[in-house]
Each structure stands twice: as C-alpha cells, then as structure tokens.
C-alpha cells in the first residue's frame, strides 16, 4: 500500500473541514476523490502534501508515518503535487519551472533528469515549444500542463493532481485526462481530486465520494459511474 490515510480530521480554525476520513491508494492505481465545492477534496490533498496541519488521524506513505512531516520534505520521499489553480511560478520560464520540479532530487544533476525532461516534453509537446517563455504568459491549459510537468520532474511515486481540469475547455479536459492515464500507465501512481466526475470515474481504478468533509461512498470507478444515486448527484443524470 503506497498511501494510507486513517481517521483524518482537519480544521480551519473552529470549522471542521474534514472529519474522520480514511482511504488508501495502492501502487499503480489512479484513485479519485470526488465531491462538490467545499466537500473537503482540496483540504485532503493539502494534508497529504503537508500544506495543512492535521488535527487527528494519520497519513502513512510507503510504510512511513508522515502525518507531521513538513511539506518540503515530502517530495524527497516521492510525493509531488500539482496544486489547485495551477500555481506555476509565473515570472520564471517554462524551463525554469520544470527545473524547480527537480529541486528536491538528490540526482538533479544526473542524466536521469534529462530523460525525465524528454519524457515530460513527450507528454506535453506544447511545453517544449514554449520552454523559454514566461509561464505567466501562457494560457490556462498550458499552465495546467506545466504544473503537471513540473510535478513529474520530481519523479514522484505518488502524483497528486488537484483539479487538473478546472477552468479548461472540454476538448482540453479530454486531453488532460488522456495524459493522466498515460502517466499512470508509465508507472506513476495518481491521486486525483476532481469535480469533473464523469471523466474522472471513467479513468480511475477506484474512487471515494466526499460530502461535507466525510467519505460517503467508495468503489471502483466503474461501479460508481453506473450507480444511480451517484449519477443523479454528480454526473448530471446521464454520462
């Protein structure tokens, strides 16, 4: 088991953002957390990457308890997140952003980094074309690709993707999900947070449904996609 979250509680001041959440991610899987706005998806993600402190519960990654490990020490272990709202370094060029992705790698000066860069450019040819351009001057979709590419440059065991399809045109959403599937098939485990439930469930091995800070359902992507109540609540009736 690559990631095991157990009984997680996180507060924003007095407000409980998530309550007693437990889930697991197996190596090689795509696991999705689905839920409406404010259900606690991003909070859960930030807890796994260490940006939010935990009130109760544990996060175990690759056999190691990382519940209270500072966020900047997690990339070394193999956790890399593409943050919500993209979060590129807008003043840096595309290339410099990708280099930042390797910041925590002990082998950042080796040839392995070059191979990873080639792989990222293969997944996102647009980034190669724009490698000397300032990240902030690119379109939303391109910045999303950059954020994902940058996260991949850390060579993670577990890739966290927070709403990669947010604000993108339908055609681009399709493309982004194709790439997520491709990344996964190349051996990277993916934990995905999405509002676009239809696409996400289709691509996921397993999924959890969050409502107001709690997990209310879980199952394989297919099961949930075909479940009438899930369809009604998250898939707009028909897929």
């Amino acid at each position: 088991m690559l990631l095991k979250v157990n009984g997680l509680c996180v507060n924003y001041g007095r407000i409980e953002a998530i309550r007693d959440i437990s889930f697991t991610v197996e190596e090689g899987e795509i696991v999705t957390l689905i839920g409406a706005n404010g259900a606690g998806k991003t909070t859960t993600m930030k807890t796994v990457s260490g940006l939010r402190p935990v009130r109760a519960g544990t996060v175990v990654f690759d056999g190691q308890d990382i519940t209270h490990l500072p966020s900047h020490e997690r990339p070394v272990l193999g956790i890399s997140q593409s943050p919500e709202g993209r979060g590129c370094f807008v003043g840096m060029t595309v290339m410099e952003n990708l280099e930042m992705g390797t910041y925590a790698r002990p082998d950042r000066k080796s040839k392995a980094v070059k191979d990873d860069l080639a792989r990222v450019f293969e997944l996102f040819p647009r980034l190669k074309e724009r490698s000397n351009q300032a990240a902030g001057s690119m379109s939303g979709g391109e910045q999303q690709m950059l954020a994902m590419g940058r996260a991949l440059m850390a060579k993670p065991k577990l890739l966290l993707l927070d709403e990669p399809s947010m604000g993108l045109a339908p055609k681009l959403i399709q493309q982004i999900f194709d790439i997520v599937t491709e990344i996964n098939s190349q051996g990277t485990t993916v934990l995905l947070v999405e509002q676009n439930a239809a696409q996400a469930l289709k691509r996921s091995h397993r999924a959890y449904i969050l409502e107001t800070g709690e997990i209310v359902r879980e199952g394989t992507g297919k099961e949930l996609a075909n479940d009438p109540s899930v369809k009604a609540a998250y898939l707009g009736g028909d897929v």
Partner: protein
C-alpha cells in the same frame, strides 16, 4: 519622444545588458576597471553640475554609498525573497550602535573588530525578529517590522546604558595608512586644472575629509555586490524566487520556504548593520534621531523606485533618493515637496521601478505578445 520609442520592447535593439554581455572578456574587465577608477576619483573630479555646491561632495557621496549598501541589503529581503520590511532602519541602528557601544561608550575595541561584530549583531537580531514573524504573511509582516524599527529607536532613547537621547560621541576612526596624496581637480577657471593644494590622503580617516570614508564604502559595496551575485545565481536565489512567487508551490517542490525567508532576513539585516556601522564610523557621533521611521521608508523607496529584485536598479534607486535631495539643497524645504512629487510620478508612470529585473520585463513582454497573438486568433 525618443525615450518613449525605446521604452517599447519591440522597437529596441539589444538592451544595455546584452550589449555588455557580448563584449570580449578583456574589454569587459577594462570597462569595469575604468568605471571603478572613475567612481573612486569622483569626489575629487569636482565635475560641474553633479557636484553638490552646498555640502561637502565627499560626504554626500559617502551618504549615497551607505544608501546603496542599504538598498542592496533590503533588496535581498524585499526584491529577492518578497518580504515587505518596513523596519529596516532597526538593523541599520543596531549596526551603528554596536560600533558606538563597543568602541566608545563601553569598550575600546578596535574598528577592525567592532565592524564584524556589528554585522553579527544585526544578523542575530534579524533572526530573532524573523523566527517568530516570518510565519505570518504579507501585510502582517510589514506591520511587525514597522513596530520593530520603532522599538529599536525607543529602546535607544530610553536606555541610558546605550547613551539615551544624547547618543554616543567620539566613536573612534578606523586605522589609517597615509601612503600618498591624491590631488583634486579645480574647475573655477572654467577648465579642469589639477589642484595640488586640495588633496585627499590615501588612506587617512580624519574628521574634515570624508573622501577616504567614501572609498571604504565603495570597497564594501564591491564586496557586497560580489556576494549578492554569487548568492542570487545559486540554488538559494532560485529558492527565494520560487518562495516569492508562490510559497505553497515552492514548498511542494521541496523548498523549505521558512528557512529561506529567514536566511534572506538575516543576510539583509547583516548588510543593513554593516551600513550602519560605516555610518557611525564616519560621523563619529550617533543618537536615536539618526534612526527615524522616515529612514526605513526612504530605504524602501530606494528599492521600489529602482526596481525591486534588480541589484543595479536598486543602486540607481538609492542614488535617486539620497543624492537628489542633497544636490538640490538650495531649494530648501521645497526639495522635499518636489522629491515627494517625483516619487509619486514614478509610482504612477513606472510602477515596476526605473530598472526592473529582466524577469519582470520578460514576463510583461511575453504577455504583450500573447495578447497580440490571441487577438490575431480571435479575428481569424
């Protein structure tokens, strides 16, 4: 008209920086050496118009040099790490007072010893202030640092041990050498004439001639610049940049943002303390009034006016805020009014500063290009 045209990126050829970069190394070294010699001789050249009439030009240049030093230090905090520090004068004061207390008020330590101690004292105070406050972000940090500057000043006023409101006098001079005399240039006849009667002694730190202090400050600026370039171009510089642009994203990349902010704070404080130490050395007398809040604002103005994040920009900014008020001293109180107006005009017409970092320029240029492209696409 012509300046407006060159300001537009599409129209300009290779920038000044690119042109310098393209020169052969030998030519570059020669140019820098000539420029350095010019800077060292500047107070003795007495060039008409730029030389201040009302006040001693060597003294003015020394003041400008301390501002440049302060701006370089504050640029690390504000420009590189993106932390708004409104109490920078506190570190300047701590540097000056360390020199005053240890070499005059309560000790007889030599200048060579107290200056490093002043740097260390300022650095430690930077860490002490930064460790609890750098966890808060943005506006709060500005308020906390604002308070820090005032606390330092009020402590100086109220602690008799530190000289109280009277301050500390008779701060000893650095050891000198008195090797040779450097003549100055006299322009009173309309043409430059070498004046062998008005000279500066290399290297005598006296009480009438401030030129040697200016030379000292120039050397210190050179060293700090070298240090600045080395640090900025390293992993540390990149980590600061990432932290400034998006702290969460930087953490996710494995950058210990708090540690790097604290480092920026400590280095900035150290340079501020060094500048204060030079100030105390030259004036020989310090009191709490030398470290008013206004000075913090002026320091910040130097960085912002020049272009936060670009070391050459903030140097220009420091020269603007410290030299012009001295140059136009004859306008008496009006000069402050004009100065304030000039700062406002700059803020309106050149908010990114006189010489913004290349990165900012590039981001903006790419932005414009993108806008043009998108308009093009839309019309198809």
């Amino acid at each position: 008209m012509s300046t407006a045209a060159t300001a537009r990126p599409q129209d300009s050829g290779p920038g000044f920086r690119e042109r310098v970069d393209n020169l052969p190394t030998a030519a570059k070294i020669l140019l820098w050496a000539l420029f350095a010699v010019f800077l060292f001789l500047l107070p003795l050249l007495n060039i008409p118009f730029i030389t201040t009439e009302g006040s001693d030009f060597g003294g003015v240049l020394f003041t400008v040099a301390t501002y440049v030093l302060v701006a370089l230090g504050l640029n690390i905090v504000v420009g590189y790490a993106g932390l708004l520090d409104l109490g920078y004068v506190g570190f300047y004061a701590i540097g000056a007072y360390t020199v005053g207390v240890l070499s005059a008020e309560h000790g007889k330590l030599s200048w060579v010893v107290v200056v490093p101690l002043a740097i260390v004292a300022a650095m430690i105070s930077g860490v002490i202030l930064g460790a609890p406050t750098l966890r808060v972000r943005g506006d709060y940090l500005a308020i906390v640092t604002l308070g820090f500057g005032e606390i330092v000043r009020l402590t100086l006023v109220n602690l008799e041990y530190l000289g109280g409101a009277q301050g500390i006098s008779n701060i000893p001079k650095p050891p000198g050498l008195e090797l040779f005399e450097v003549p100055s240039i006299d322009w009173s006849s309309g043409a430059p004439v070498v004046d062998l009667d008005t000279t500066s002694t290399f290297l005598k730190f006296g009480i009438n001639d401030f030129v040697p202090y200016y030379w000292l400050a120039l050397v210190v600026i050179g060293l700090v610049l070298l240090f600045d370039i080395l640090v900025k171009d390293s992993r540390v510089g990149r980590a600061w940049e990432a932290t400034r642009e998006d702290e969460d994203a930087a953490e996710l990349m494995g950058v210990p943002t708090f540690r790097f902010k604290l480092l920026a704070f400590a280095l900035g404080a150290a340079i501020g303390g060094l500048s204060g130490a030079l100030f105390a050395t030259k004036s020989g007398f310090i009191n709490p009034q030398s470290f008013e809040l206004l000075l913090s604002i002026l320091f910040l103005a130097a960085v912002v006016v020049g272009g936060a994040g670009n070391r050459w920009g903030v140097i220009v900014g420091a020269i603007v805020v410290s030299y012009f008020p001295e140059r136009f001293r004859e306008f008496a109180d009006f000069r402050v009014l004009v100065f304030g107006l000039a700062l406002m005009l700059l803020a309106i017409f050149r908010p990114q500063g006189l010489l913004p970092p290349r990165r900012t320029v590039r981001a903006k240029r790419a932005d414009d290009r993108q806008a043009v492209l998108e308009e093009g696409e839309a019309s198809v």
